[in-house]
């Protein structure tokens, strides 16, 4: 109970750019999985390579990232993923269930 309360959400994509099946890709077409950590303070998302045959994600294959600090950006409009040192977030992501 001392752990930081976090929710995990995820969404699959067939490609790095929007295409007609981006909303609802069939399993065989999933190439990228976006995993989000949502805490009280932030939402941190990594879009990672995904193999639909093995259901395995490749944590070293980072397609994109998002980081929103919610105190100043509750609408999640200012993606600061490329700005700060977010190695702490990376470690949290590495411990995903």
């Amino acid at each position: 109970e001392d752990e930081e309360a976090i929710s995990f959400s995820q969404y699959p994509r067939p490609a790095d750019t929007p295409q007609v099946n981006s909303d609802l890709p069939d399993l065989k077409d999933i190439k990228v999985m976006g995993y989000s950590l949502r805490s009280w303070d932030y939402r941190y998302t990594l879009w990672l390579g995904f193999n639909p045959q093995t259901f395995q994600v490749n944590v070293s294959d980072v397609h994109a990232g998002e980081l929103y600090m919610l105190a100043g950006d509750p609408g999640q409009d200012e993606n600061i993923y490329s700005e700060p040192d977010h190695s702490v977030m990376m470690r949290k992501m590495a411990s995903l269930p």
């Binding site: 109970e1 959400s9 969404y11 929007p18 981006s22 399993l27 879009w47 994109a64 998002e66 993606n79």
Partner: protein
């Protein structure tokens, strides 16, 4: 004593509810429920699309364990023969019933809504739902179209009804059959709204005059949003009235006047669904079941209403993953109680829109829909399933969520 469960699910309902602080929407019946309940303000779905989210919540396993990310497989043969929440109740002597959209219908629930594993009787689906995918919306040309915006005169609809009205009728009928039975029940009622198309009774539009509608506070696609994070809202684009707008793919935008109308219709759909919840809860009360029935209200995920230049679900933004999560547990968190008064009086939003309710207790801790199964089970007195091991494909009964019951003792004042 026995504790029944009434499990109510909305479809695509974001936290646009009065009890979640939305200043526009009118949802007095859900607000009334919230005023006597534990309200979790920060609850999140595991994937913002129907089948994966519902399967995840009802099995208390994450999508990586159900291995369902689309609509095209049944978890019992695709990933593991996991016990569902209603199945767990059924195995403990409950009479379990499904009305409307609880499991995602079709392949994802074996074309049976997981009957007979999860339910004591076959799931009920409203007959009028088949018209939902047909051309039912009168256009300006006087012809019928498959529109997104589809406010209708219900008396002119086939059978003079709509799917959620039919589901409410059936749920009330089932409640009546169980009211005097000693066997406890688990009744799941899944409403179809505010899912598109916004095929709703036209009178609910009057609650939201178009000249009082506003755009989303951030209607543009953020400059630094990675393209992979963006969902192009294809289901919205495919509707006849949206196609006519000739919106650019993938980023649009939708013309502002049409954005306002989408928002108006979404809110009206919420109020219409709220009225069905009110009818159901007042029936529960009138049948003398409000003191012996736990009520859970939630949704499979949210819906973007123009935020970030997006519509529909299909993303990881809060507007699509955050959901209402409300637990009414008689004897535990029944507040504002006056002897002799009804717990859940029906509030007709069309004539009593000024009526408002205040949350008694809220929980601000971040929680998840995988927490619902262990929490409901525990609060019903059955005990929560054990936590799943790291690899759980062979485990029939376990949870990847947390039992939130302890938070019921750590409430904050609303």
């Amino acid at each position: 004593r026995k504790r029944n469960v009434l499990f109510i699910m909305a479809d695509d309902l974001r936290t646009s509810l009065g009890c979640y602080g939305d200043p526009v929407v009118k949802s007095p019946n859900i607000d009334q429920l919230a005023s006597k309940s534990q309200v979790f303000l920060d609850a999140y779905a595991q994937q913002a699309v129907c089948a994966p989210s519902r399967t995840s919540m009802l099995t208390s396993r994450r999508p990586d364990t159900t291995r369902l990310y689309d609509f095209n497989s049944y978890w019992r043969v695709h990933s593991g023969n996991y016990t569902t929440m209603p199945q767990y109740f059924k195995s403990r002597g409950y009479y379990t019933m499904s009305v409307g959209k609880v499991f995602h219908p079709g392949i994802a629930s074996n074309h049976t809504d997981d009957y007979p594993y999860s339910w004591s009787i076959p799931a009920y689906h409203p007959a009028s739902f088949r018209f939902e995918k047909e051309k039912m919306c009168k256009g300006e040309d006087g012809k019928l179209h498959a529109n997104l915006l589809c406010a209708v005169n219900v008396t002119e609809q086939p059978g003079g009804t709509l799917p959620d009205m039919e589901s409410t009728d059936e749920a009330v009928r089932l409640l009546k059959t169980r009211a005097s039975d000693d066997v406890p029940f688990f009744l799941a009622v899944g409403f179809h709204k505010p899912h598109i198309p916004f095929r709703i009774p036209q009178e609910y539009l009057s609650l939201y005059p178009i000249d009082q509608m506003t755009l989303a506070p951030d209607p543009n696609v953020p400059k630094l949003l990675p393209p992979v994070a963006y969902n192009p809202w294809m289901d919205v684009r495919k509707r006849d009235d949206v196609q006519k707008l000739n919106v650019s793919f993938p980023y649009g935008p939708i013309p502002k006047d049409f954005q306002l109308r989408i928002r108006q219709h979404y809110y009206a759909a919420v109020s219409y669904m709220d009225a069905q919840v009110g009818r159901l809860l007042s029936a529960l009360d009138e049948l003398g079941l409000a003191d012996s029935t736990m009520v859970v209200f939630t949704s499979d995920h949210g819906w973007s209403l123009g935020e970030h230049g997006e519509w529909a679900k299909y993303s990881n933004f809060d507007v699509t993953t955050r959901v209402p999560l409300i637990f009414y547990v008689p004897g535990v968190n029944r507040f504002n109680e006056w002897l002799g008064e009804f717990t859940f009086s029906f509030v007709d939003v069309l004539t009593q829109s000024e009526l408002s309710f205040k949350n008694a207790k809220v929980g601000r801790n971040v929680v998840e829909l995988v927490d619902v199964f262990p929490t409901v089970s525990y609060m019903a007195g059955l005990g929560a399933p054990e936590p799943c091991p790291d690899v759980s494909f062979q485990e029939k009964l376990c949870t990847e969520g947390h039992n939130l019951a302890y938070t019921f003792q750590h409430r904050e004042q609303g």
